[in-house]
Symmetry: C2
Subunit: 328 residues, 2 copies
Amino acid sequence: MAVTHQKHIYIYSPSGAVRDKTAFRRGVARLKKLGHEVEVDSDALTSYQRFAGDDETRLAAIHRAAASGADVALTTRGGYGMTRLLGGIQYKQVAKAIAKGMLFVGISDFTAFSLAMMAKTGSVTWAGPALCEGFGVAAPELPDDIMEDCFNDLLCGQGEGAGWRQNREPAKRPDSTNAMKSVAKSSNLTGANGTFSIKNTTLWGGNLAVLSSLVGTPYMPEVKGGVLFLEDVAEHPYRVERMLTQLLHAGILARQKAIILGQFTDYKLVPHDRGFKLQTVVDWLRTQVKIPVLTNLPYGHVATKVMLPVGARVELAVEGRDALLFWG
Amino acid sequence: MAVTHQKHIYIYSPSGAVRDKTAFRRGVARLKKLGHEVEVDSDALTSYQRFAGDDETRLAAIHRAAASGADVALTTRGGYGMTRLLGGIQYKQVAKAIAKGMLFVGISDFTAFSLAMMAKTGSVTWAGPALCEGFGVAAPELPDDIMEDCFNDLLCGQGEGAGWRQNREPAKRPDSTNAMKSVAKSSNLTGANGTFSIKNTTLWGGNLAVLSSLVGTPYMPEVKGGVLFLEDVAEHPYRVERMLTQLLHAGILARQKAIILGQFTDYKLVPHDRGFKLQTVVDWLRTQVKIPVLTNLPYGHVATKVMLPVGARVELAVEGRDALLFWG
């Protein structure tokens, strides 16, 4: 995979401690092989309890990343630890770095950082891979093609959008039609039969557990008329539903123009569920909101994932099962 | 165990489906043996997916309980399902029944009902046992003495408070002193050396996961100067901390006069934690708030638990490790 522009990538650890140092080294090697200059933060491999250093250490790492002058600040991994830091981040300092063109990229726990940056400064950050899980995969496997292409395209200034095919619907339900009619009224409808586009809207979202844990706090952006994307890992569908219920009751879902569900993975159904499953939650969600609920966005705790600008103005275009987000 | 007054207890299922029908029958038999009249709702054993009937069925059960004229409405169990119903509850109807003296008792998922009743009407409900786990224990075991005494005392109009002994502190930390000084300033201090009382305050709380899932919604009571009690089950300490962080960042903790931690049980630490544990979270919490954080309240997903009036005016008295809540 040829890279036309060498970029300066700063690797840091704002959340969980890196335990798999082999994956870390493989990730760094891979980025170098792609032609990039890789700078590793002095505390990238620090460990304190389950964290990559205590709060002060991880805060300092974020601020060093912002001050590094790198093109990209990429987290080593997610885990847990960012919400603890939200009161100590120098938002203006980070925003300045972003304004100069720096791309902050991460996933999962990083959602807390992305949304807080958006709430406090309106800055755009990127939902994408983390170093270890994204680039540190063990041979003979290679990092996922699509993920790596999206990452490189973004770095080369060529990332202009993300397209995907939604899940086939299990059955047509009456309220889907209502949702489409509602879209037809509320957005720029460009065609009939499930074809619509929503222009000049704000894309936001990330990990559902992290996002819902910001509801009611000053770190939750107030987005009206936006497109909200969500993913999660190891959360039973009933917990996904409870978190969506919080967003629903808080009025957050009704204020959006569309909801895009990414990948919800690695949960375990139990006999007690008796047919209650993720699709049950999706069906239920569609009875609760009048906006389109799209599915199967290639983003989440999976290898194949796109890069998504959190806080950016985007256009969402849908034609049947095919969906396209672009910001080019 | 002698009961001086026979009471009318209405059993209903607003949340998860009852799978253990033997425990259900044992619970009903136990309440009858204690001398009570037990009325079982027509849908108490209904099952739909993981729920005790669909939303309409469970809402109707709540409203039948309120209209039953019973002295006590006791849930069969917790589980999941109450948050889905919050938009459909006839709060005024339930509040009227409570005003006439009816006691709504439950645990866990029931927290959503308790807090919504409090937010919408200011009514007092009771955090206590549920039928199956509380009274349906298998022979030769008997229902927990303390739980049953508290339940009977309440029914006989003799439940006036709950006392307990806090955990021994692992180490004295400087900020504990600050917390005590803060209490001395902000509350009615009745003595020195960790002895204080907070009078005429509002007791509220319940299951942390359910409570935090109401933040930012109209079902979260706005309590100032209250005493907040919390418990949870099967939540890793990092998740407990993330939920507490939401309450902290939302400003909810700072508005209280004390936090009382109940029982946090059935979670599993992992090698990645490296010393991060529940006590770590308690220690951290005490660095984040200036109010006392009490421990070891006998309430939660454990056999030995007291009855707590959610939304009631109470007094909290603390003398060293001994704590007492009373509302008599």
